[in-house]
């Protein structure tokens, strides 16, 4: 907390602020020889309904930042406020849904029962949660596969089930850690379009970690470019694409935004030889 005085004050979280990160540091292995400063002085505010991507080279702490929002790890200093309450409280209140690169579906449950899991934990009745899970599977266009086992589905379908599960209890916030990282390019673009449709339909705020510049640009209202060692916010780029569909991927505004993000990444890379996935 010693350095926080030097930083600009972040506006107090309001009802329209989904996530408010203020003066956050994250140090792993404090006081040990292998101490790592993963994040330093992060200030970031995400408005309700916004789609924000975190991008940066490996080791820039973007996943760590997401995990702080999810209360899967604690900040060393600073505060993380989600929906106006501390991150830990937001997690206990099930304010957010989460999806990872690895779909993490349970083989011993059918697809529909995977989607039902969070509702089960919330104590919903059997009939109600089945109805809700089917509704969610319809949202990701997998209702026909409700009774299948997860391993019978393709990687993209598994990831859609994971998204349906994350959204099953209708959280206002969706946290995604490279959810499409393991998918092939065509499936990936399709999933991006599907995700935008789902978010528009459910008015969900999204924080999305990715390695891919086009993915970040296509999906986001704002792209947060992060620099490594220690992880900092290097630049925040606002993307104004208007209506997003597959045609926009070939429009000049799309390329302009990609160039802006790439320049920002190159800016932080001077002195660091690591590359960023250009897909």
């Amino acid at each position: 907390m010693t350095t926080s005085a030097a930083r600009p004050a972040t506006p107090a979280p309001t009802a329209a602020t989904a996530v408010a990160i203020a003066a956050v540091d994250k140090v792993f292995n404090v006081g040990k020889p292998n101490q790592v400063e993963a994040l330093l002085g992060i200030d970031l505010s995400i408005a309700t309904g916004e789609f924000v991507s975190l991008i940066g080279p490996s080791g820039c702490g973007k996943s760590t930042l997401l995990r702080l929002v999810a209360d899967l790890t604690d900040p060393t200093a600073g505060s993380v406020v989600v929906n106006g309450k501390p991150a830990a409280q937001a997690r206990r209140d099930r304010d957010y849904g989460m999806a990872f690169q690895h779909a993490g579906l349970f083989d011993w449950r059918t697809v529909v029962r995977n989607v039902e899991l969070p509702l089960e934990l919330e104590g919903w009745s059997k009939a109600r949660r089945r109805e809700q899970a089917i509704k969610m599977l319809e949202l990701v266009k997998l209702a026909d596969f409700a009774e299948h086992r997860p391993f019978e589905l393709s990687g993209g379908m598994q990831q859609r089930v994971a998204i349906a599960r994350a959204l099953s209890f209708e959280p206002s916030l969706l946290l995604m850690d490279e959810p499409f990282g393991a998918l092939d390019e065509m499936t990936r673009e399709h999933m991006q379009t599907e995700l935008l449709r789902i978010c528009a339909q459910t008015a969900t705020t999204v924080v999305f970690v990715t390695h891919s510049i086009p993915e970040a640009v296509y999906l986001s209202d704002r792209v947060v470019v992060m620099s490594p060692r220690p992880g900092r916010v290097a630049e925040v780029i606002t993307v104004k694409l208007g209506h997003r569909d597959d045609d926009i991927r070939e429009a000049s505004v799309f390329y302009d935004a990609i160039t802006a993000v790439r320049d920002a990444l190159r800016g932080i890379e001077r002195g660091s030889p690591r590359g960023v996935d250009d897909r």
Binding site: M98, F100, G104, E152
Partner: protein
């Protein structure tokens, strides 16, 4: 589609699975019979399969009575050992201090020379009781179950555990919905092992004396009287009990984990 085609091909595949071992088994018995006849091997070295079979039919009621009590000791010990092993694994997976207390004790139990303990148990519990025999089986079965289930309970995927945390799931819910299902394949590996071990342990325990209606006693006495055909008949019945227990475990596995079989098909 996949379900349909699986159902269609199930019957021929089952035939393909059963026929080769049965054919090999019959060929083996025929060769055995021929070898004993042709090389004129004396009956106390190796009796003919036909002689063993007729000894079995001859002694049927005696052997069956012995088999019943041996099987009952094996199964009782097996069930108690499995329950204790699973219970110990659940306990130690939840609490560090429990782990530090139970693990060395379990290792100690596993290292006990069971052949030395069987006569001691006979003295403790009375040579004619079943308790001494069942306890030997329990001890032999406990360790593989405890070790395997402990390992299984620790195998849950990191993503799945983080997911449960993001759902604010209680430790009990994580145990029930993630750790225990993850541990099931490990439990069944242990059970396959334990099923065979239980019958071996029961027979070994009987070698150290006790009621006469026991397979171990029967085999030992028949061998002592150089009635090797009868001794082999007893061994044969012990094998059948062991295989039956193994098959019961396989069926239980199919019932408890319907996803596992189809997964194997999917990946092969």
């Amino acid at each position: 589609m996949t379900v349909l085609s699986a159902r269609w091909s199930a019957a021929p595949r089952r035939v393909a699975v059963i026929v080769p071992p049965v054919a090999v088994g019959i060929a083996f018995l025929v060769l055995w019979e021929l070898a004993v006849t042709v090389f004129d091997i004396s009956a106390f070295l190796l009796p003919k399969p036909s002689a063993i079979w007729s000894a079995l039919l001859d002694q049927w009621s005696i052997i069956m009575e012995a088999a019943r009590s041996t099987a009952s000791n094996a199964i009782t010990g097996l069930v108690i050992g499995v329950v204790l092993g699973v219970f110990a694994a659940l306990l130690t997976s939840r609490s560090r201090s429990a782990r530090e207390i139970v693990t060395p004790i379990a290792a100690g139990i596993a290292a006990m020379p069971i052949i030395a303990l069987a006569p001691v148990f006979n003295v403790w519990f009375g040579i004619t009781t079943s308790t001494a025999k069942q306890l030997v089986v329990t001890i032999v079965v406990f360790m593989p179950v405890f070790v395997n289930v402990s390992k299984g309970l620790a195998q849950a995927e990191a993503t799945q555990l983080e997911l449960m945390r993001s759902f604010a799931a209680s430790p009990a819910a994580v145990m029930r919905k993630v750790r225990i299902p993850t541990a099931l394949p490990y439990l069944f590996s242990a059970l396959r092992l334990a099923a065979s071990l239980s019958i071996i342990a029961a027979i070994v325990a009987e070698y150290f004396g006790g009621r006469r209606d026991a397979l171990g006693v029967y085999i030992q006495q028949a061998a002592g009287l150089t009635r090797y055909d009868q001794a082999w008949a007893g061994v044969l019945v012990a094998c059948v009990i062991g295989i039956s227990l193994f098959v019961v475990v396989l069926i239980a596995e199919r019932v408890a984990m319907p996803w596992a079989g189809s997964q194997r098909q999917q990946r092969s």
